[in-house]
């Protein structure tokens, strides 16, 4: 009799633990997905912005064809990227050419004075800041999500229920795009 009570109690405890852990994992997964969606929104905004920026600069500095070309190519590659790790690579690959484009614009006072260009530049600054913020949140969440999956005893729940570790959105070699919101 006593044995059965003990067995029942153990089963109940294990069951409760599984429920709590499962819910925790689902919550973390949702948070990570929200975080990724937020990054994705900014990446898309930037992909939409870049052609306009290129056109704006081209109107004043038509002979910088090489810069335009590299920006356009990097943007196309970024659109192809799938998953956080690839997207982060593509993002890093875009930051270099974008910086060159901004640097080119420095040499053309008329361009810098144009309202259209100022607006585009301000929007780029807005996107870059938001991207950095969204990246921070996403990576923190992924870190927590992955840690829970790797550690004992929650690993016993994570594996059978098909939770997978998520990729971070990060690379070592990314230069920040050098535009600031306040200047515009």
């Amino acid at each position: 009799m006593v044995v059965w009570i003990v067995v029942a109690a153990v089963v109940v405890v294990v069951f409760l633990f599984a429920i709590v852990t499962y819910n925790h994992l689902v919550r973390l997964r949702n948070e990570a997905e929200t975080g990724w969606a937020n990054i994705d929104v900014q990446l898309k905004r930037r992909a939409d912005l870049v052609p306009n920026l290129v056109e704006a600069v081209r109107a004043y500095a038509a002979h910088e064809a090489e810069t335009f070309d590299s920006v356009t190519k990097a943007r196309a590659a970024a659109l192809q990227a799938s998953g956080p790790a690839q997207a982060a690579q593509a993002d890093a690959a875009l930051s270099g050419p974008l910086n060159r484009l901004i640097a080119v614009s420095e040499a053309y006072p008329q361009l810098r004075a144009s309202e259209n260009f100022l607006k585009l530049q301000e929007e780029l600054a807005d996107i870059e800041d938001k991207l950095a913020a969204a990246r921070r949140y996403y990576n923190q969440t992924v870190y927590r999500f992955n840690s829970v999956q790797q550690t004992f005893p929650s690993v016993l729940v994570a594996r059978p229920f098909g939770f997978h570790e998520r990729q971070f959105f990060e690379t070592d070699q990314r230069d920040p795009v050098d535009v600031s919101f306040a200047q515009a």
């Binding site: 800041d129 938001k130 969204a134 949140y137 919101f181 306040a182």
Partner: protein
């Protein structure tokens, strides 16, 4: 203690305080029922409950009108929108909260609202003028962590409860002074009457003490969360330093909403008056908050 444990401990403490609040109100009710006519008490009780529910439903609006907050236009405040939206992303909020502005030269900010969905942030024009982008980010992160940690719900609730107790005790005090309902003559009646008056006088004080206990600790917690959100505790510390040095008094702040602000809007007195008042502060001293940020972030601000 990790942040999460701190939040949990804080929630327990909060429940305790709400419980104490209920006990306080109940106790006053019992004393009053003894001292005055019970029928009067029922009427007053109903008024209190209706008033409480009404102000809870419109808590956000009441706070807005009590502080003079207006919705901020995006075209007029692009920098503010940029900062709030950016910090909201870093805080993992599903969408940035509405932004309000108070036309006041005193730098201050608060968050209010009943729930995560109805919460808004509000800053004064003085804050926008005083803070650079990094400092503004720190302040906004502080306010958004009040929203994210569900502090606004509790703080709005406390504002409402303090309001209800103040209203009721004021109401009953007047009635009893003008001889509304003495139950019977004799010594026992007089003692009960005196007890009732004392309870009425003490109720608002007790309510305010609970308000303080709820809010002080939350400021430290919100500072810590803000540093975590932006990854830049120094920015917030610099902002707090500027608030510390500033002495302009916030115009539209009253006792009931004081605990919502990032910096105590009422505590600008000095000397003896300041010492007396510090007992009743809704906020820990700014210097202590800066020190806590310095310790957590491993940096030192240059002396003021």
């Amino acid at each position: 203690m990790t942040l999460k444990e701190q939040i949990r401990a804080n929630r327990w403490r909060t429940l305790w305080l709400l419980f104490l609040f209920a006990v306080l109100v109940g106790l006053i009710g019992v004393i009053l029922a003894y001292a005055f006519r019970p029928s009067l008490l029922i009427v007053v009780g109903i008024v209190g409950i209706v008033y409480g529910i009404f102000s809870w439903i419109s808590a956000g609006k009441i706070v807005a009108s009590a502080t003079g907050a207006q919705p901020a236009g995006r075209a007029q405040y692009p920098r503010l929108y940029h900062v709030v939206e950016t910090v909201a992303l870093a805080a993992g909020l599903t969408q940035p909260p509405p932004i309000y502005i108070v036309d006041d030269t005193a730098p201050n900010a608060f968050a209010a609202g009943r729930s995560l969905d109805t919460a808004y942030v509000c800053v004064t024009t003085g804050l926008l003028e005083l803070m650079d982008e990094r400092e503004l980010e720190g302040v906004i992160a502080h306010e958004l962590s009040h929203i994210r940690n569900r502090d606004v719900r509790l703080m709005s609730l406390v504002a409402v409860l303090v309001g209800v107790v103040a209203l009721l005790s004021d109401f009953l005090f007047r009635i009893s002074i003008f001889g509304g309902g003495r139950k019977s003559g004799g010594t026992a009646g007089l003692i009960a009457f005196a007890l009732g008056l004392a309870a009425l006088a003490l109720a608002p004080i007790a309510a305010v003490l609970i308000q303080l206990a709820v809010s002080r600790r939350r400021e430290y917690l919100a500072d810590a969360s803000a540093a975590e959100i932006t990854g830049d505790g120094e920015g917030l510390a610099l902002a707090l330093r500027k608030l510390e040095l500033d002495t302009t008094e916030t115009r539209h702040a009253s006792r009931a909403v004081a605990h919502l602000y990032i910096e105590n809007p009422l505590n600008q007195a000095s000397g003896m008056r300041r010492t007396m008042r510090s007992l009743f502060d809704t906020h820990p001293p700014l210097a202590a908050r800066i020190a806590a940020l310095e310790e957590a972030g491993g940096f030192r601000l240059p002396p003021a």
